[in-house]
Amino acid sequence: MNHFDLEMQALALHAPPAFIPREALTDERATAPLKRPRGGAAVDAQGLGKRYGAREVLNDVDLTIAPGEFVAIVGRSGCGKSTLLRLLAGLEAADTGQITLDGDARGRHQADIRIMFQDARLLPWKRVLDNVALGLTGPDVQERAHEALSQVGLSDRARDWPAVLSGGQRQRVALARALVHTPRLLLLDEPLGALDALTRIEMHGLIERLWQRHGFTALLVTHDVTEAVALADRVVLIEDHRIVLDERVPLARPRARGAAFDAIEDRVLQRVLSKPAEEAAPTVQRIVPASEWRWAV
């Protein structure tokens, strides 16, 4: 366990740790009693920059998203697209630049933002329904959780443990857990990356339907250009730590593959591939622990 982990753990009881900006949490508490307006939030990020030590991850990124818009961010792995999402989620603080939601500082809207992670991150010791109800308060918590669960088609699994669900089902529970808070900005961090192709197509339909129904603003980070074109109103490409392409997808929904679809997909893909993969990406050599050795005898 490295020093940083220990530090984070040590801070676990004090409310705001290093990776959530202090003002974000206090502001959330201050505005909590306000009735949240429904619908999507307008997102505006200006001049975002982030570096980890000497390594630059994002440099002067501007991104504006209209209320209720569905934007997909694509890019090679390590291009900084996940970091951008983590900055918007408030999981990390930007070094430079600022983020506003509906013109206010991002921190004032912490409760309006929900994130779906690549791994579902369900609490294994809570049953499915209690996972969905995580962080909810009020007298009708159970009903709201049930309602969200039925929207993702899993109301019959409410009493199950997450351990017995399939990967796709877990992500649907995670989606329900995010939606039950009626977020105005939903951040999706490669949530379908670990699923098989058929389950992904199913999930595309589900996410699109729920997005149309709830009207939240959605930001999807993915490395799959087809997925981006299938779901998003706009596809944004990040390369060399900055936005290099911002392509509208003017196709009717629900989208099916066809000439227009393929043309857009092809254009984005060509742009991604036009730059050869970085040769000397600083990958950390993984040390294999003794328990993972296999003797070839």
């Binding site: 366990m1 009881l13 010791w125 443990w161």
Partner: protein, 275 residues
């Protein structure tokens, strides 16, 4: 190893061996054979009663001690000592483990001291303990408490530290913090590790109690066996040893039960829940 025999009768025997009822009985087969051999050896006069009394004599001693109420009295005294010592030592271990696991300042302040004390065998402290507490109840409780403290402390500390960081991050972004985050994420995430410490401690608890009770006592299973030794009553000595074995097993069964209940969400504790 290559199978040499594939005859139908041997296959049927294999199937029978794997049957549910047989599987339940099979673990008892070996002890039963050993006891039967022991009984025969005693009856034939190969084993002196001074060395080992016959099993039947042990049973008779057990029965007469039960009727006289002596067993109940000694077991009650020993169990009380074990539980109180476990409560004090385990409770402190849990408390300090939670403290050092959660707060970095507490770890800096306490952990290296505790690690130093941990390396002293509890039994090496017996002379000091007798000087401090004399030979009365507190000396025994102190030894038991000291012994059970460390497994629970270490595993609690480790459990808290190894809670999935991703889950903590997720819970924070869903608005959990402070006490809620602690009770809903951090504590449940470390229960598995804490229970490992509890089971380890339960084993140590009896070992330390046996030693403590044989030093000096006016009651308890250890006293009963030491007393019987004075009068060369090997059967009573064996009854005492058997009682320790039974109580140890009982404590382990209880700990397993706790595991099954608290970790029922864990795939390893779900017998046939598959979807």
């Amino acid at each position: 190893m290559p199978r040499t025999s594939t005859s139908p009768s041997s296959a049927a025997f294999d199937r029978w061996l794997l049957g549910a009822h047989v599987q339940r009985v099979l673990p008892w087969l070996f002890p039963i054979v050993v006891i039967a051999a022991w009984q025969l050896a005693s009856q034939a006069g190969w084993l002196s009663t001074r060395v080992l009394p016959e099993p039947w004599a042990v049973l008779k001693a057990f029965w007469s001690l039960t009727l006289s109420g002596e067993i109940a009295k000694h077991v009650a005294v020993s169990t009380w000592r074990a539980l109180v010592g476990f409560g004090i030592g385990g409770g402190l271990g849990l408390l300090l483990g939670l403290l050092t696991g959660t707060f970095r300042a507490a770890e800096t302040l306490l952990d290296s001291t505790l690690q130093m004390i941990r390396n002293i065998p509890a039994l090496a402290l017996i002379p000091l303990v007798i000087l401090w507490f004399g030979i009365d109840e507190w000396a025994k409780l102190f030894l038991v408490a000291l012994g059970v403290f460390f497994p629970i402390y270490l595993n609690t500390f480790h459990g808290i530290r190894s809670v999935d960081k991703g889950l903590i991050e997720m819970a924070r972004s869903y608005g959990l913090s402070g006490w809620k985050l602690y009770t809903q994420v951090i504590l449940p995430g470390s229960v598995a590790s804490i229970l490992v410490g509890v089971r380890f401690s339960l084993g140590l608890m009896w070992v330390l109690l046996i030693v403590a009770e044989t030093i000096s006592a006016q009651a308890g299973i250890g006293y009963m066996t030491m007393n019987a030794r004075e009068f060369l009553q090997t059967d009573v000595v064996l009854v005492g040893i058997l009682l320790y074995a039974l109580l140890g097993k009982l404590a382990d069964v209880l700990a397993k039960g706790l595991e099954r209940w608290w970790l029922r969400w864990h795939p390893g504790y779900q017998p046939d829940a598959r979807s």
